[in-house]
Symmetry: C2
Subunit: 337 residues, 2 copies
């Protein structure tokens, strides 16, 4: 009875107030239209964004020579041309090994807005995250020594590090991953939803506005909130009973939880969920209602929410395809095994 | 005795005439400075280059969903950011399988100038070549049906095909590979060598000019000629006695020969030779002298030739990183096995 009253009240208040304000009240935030506001959100004091670092980080992000086989780059699993992920169920890396927990590669776009990184939130920021897959055996399978040696073997990289950090820079594994993280901080994709929240009422169509209302009403925004619509607060969602958990033994953090993923660019990042087990967005919406909210989401509601989620597909940063420096005789050789 | 006289005569004529003319006489050709001359060389009547085809072909070239796993694109082995190849000894593809003949992925840059494609020259042009790796099991391992279904499942691709070929276009496997070939035709990289041949005398330094002389004198240009400095005439080089042929049973064409590879961007495309067995360019130069010319190339000569080869490293086309269309519910799912 209480629940019904609460829902009725929410509906009434949504009808009365402005939808933008309701979205704000529900914790949804826009990517700021102002560059100075945006930089406040994406920058950090430890590793301030500079053009020199971003340009270098972009090359390192795209460079497969950072992996043991020299065939796998950050971009292999977090493909900037493909929504920032890889489009397969479980991350697949060195020697075609799959993630042992059947974990799906999350998108790198807007990951800067997350309160923590990885499905179990074990890395505090993008710089720390970048240290994981480079060394993980089913991913890039490299060693710190390999990565440092690769980078130091190419004069163009050494010069770029000096330009980015000063002539006395010591090129370490941590400095390399800091640079990659610095680049990743810029991977922000403003979308029609942001234009709407920032005052352009016509940026969403009627169906999308209806979907936003439904999204708030049925409680999606209680986890999918913040600028990323997920993951911002480091909030974790119960998945211990998760019925699609068919492979591996990943239990999330110590309480059996996984991080709430972003809904930005969700139309480009199937398959869904931490184990990549659902391919269809409408199915994913209904499944989340069932598991997380204990609610049966109707087909009509799901379609409406799906229309709203389409407004989160953003404009990707225009990027020139970087040209990587040539290997030299001191560049470590690839090891395919 | 005859040989010595011949060499002496060549040297004398080189000293007397202009080096540009000597290079031309040896069959070396520049990438034309004029756009209309260049288009004559790279275009074909069957599949004329248009902006719409190139833009579409670029996306298809970068799209891993054309492979069975949906993780491997043309760009995986012919990486445009890395000299147009993959930097490993033997091509590695689906399920981490290696090329059974231990064949090295050749660069796609300037491949348009080759008289035929593949190490054994079995494809007559880039359009025909693109049909090989997409279907080959150790590479992209797809079927024609998979590829056509993937492309047709995305409205953006369908619209782009209509724009490129007209509203009545039938999207077939052959049309898709034609489009990729069309894009590849534009991957031409003018280098200092071309500027020199086109009249800018200062485009090569003294050491590079000396290297070019040596290159002609010792006979490298007898195979490495034409615009690509290799492969243009469909000329094949004897490799039956090739000492680095340590893996697989690849015998080249029916006479045991492999195609002469281009020397353009050679500084960026180690390892060398059809089996990717030599990593150091100087070693490769000396080895070619021994095997192909029956000549001992001195360290000094090899360094000189290496300096000249550096003048073949060209300017890559400026490319925006393309954004690939999102998969839809009808896009075939990846199959990692």
């Amino acid at each position: 009875m209480k629940k019904i009253v609460a829902v009725a009240l929410t509906t009434a208040s949504l009808m009365a107030g402005s939808l933008v304000q309701d979205a704000q009240n529900a914790g949804l935030k826009a990517i700021p239209a102002s560059a100075s506001e945006l930089i406040k959100l994406i920058d950090n004091t430890k590793n301030p964004i500079t053009k020199a670092k971003v340009k270098l980080g972009e090359k390192l992000y795209m460079d497969p020579r950072l992996s043991k086989s020299e065939l796998i780059s950050c971009n292999t699993c977090h493909n900037l041309m493909e929504g920032g992920d890889d489009g397969v169920g479980a991350a697949t890396g060195h020697m075609w090994r799959h993630n042992p927990h059947h974990l799906n590669s999350p998108t790198v776009y807007n990951a800067v807005f997350f309160g923590s990184q990885f499905w179990d939130g074990r890395a505090k920021d993008l710089e720390a995250q970048a240290q994981g897959p480079t060394l993980a055996h089913p991913e890039m399978a490299a060693t710190k020594e390999h990565i440092v040696k690769v980078v130091k073997s190419m004069p163009e990289y050494v010069t770029a590090f000096k330009k980015a950090y000063g002539d006395n820079v010591k090129i370490t594994f941590e400095k390399i991953t800091d640079t990659i993280g610095n680049f990743e901080r810029t991977l922000v994709t403003p979308a029609p939803f942001d234009a709407y929240m920032n005052g352009y009422k016509e940026a969403l169509n009627a169906k999308q506005k209806e979907g936003l209302k439904t999204f708030i009403q049925i409680g999606c925004a209680s986890c999918h909130n913040g600028v990323a619509l997920g993951g911002e607060m480091g909030a974790f969602n119960v998945t211990a009973t998760y019925k699609y958990m068919s492979t591996g033994d990943f239990k999330g953090d110590k309480n059996g939880m996984v991080k709430v993923p972003t809904l930005r660019n969700i139309t480009e990042t199937a398959p869904y969920f931490h184990n990549g087990m659902i391919w269809n967005l409408k199915d994913a919406i209904k499944e989340m209602g069932r598991i997380q909210l204990g609610t049966k989401i109707s087909d009509k509601q799901a379609e409406s929410i799906e229309a709203f989620l389409g407004s989160l597909t953003g404009k990707k940063p225009h990027m020139m395809m970087p040209m990587l420096p040539a290997s030299t005789p001191t560049t470590p050789k690839p090891d395919l095994n």
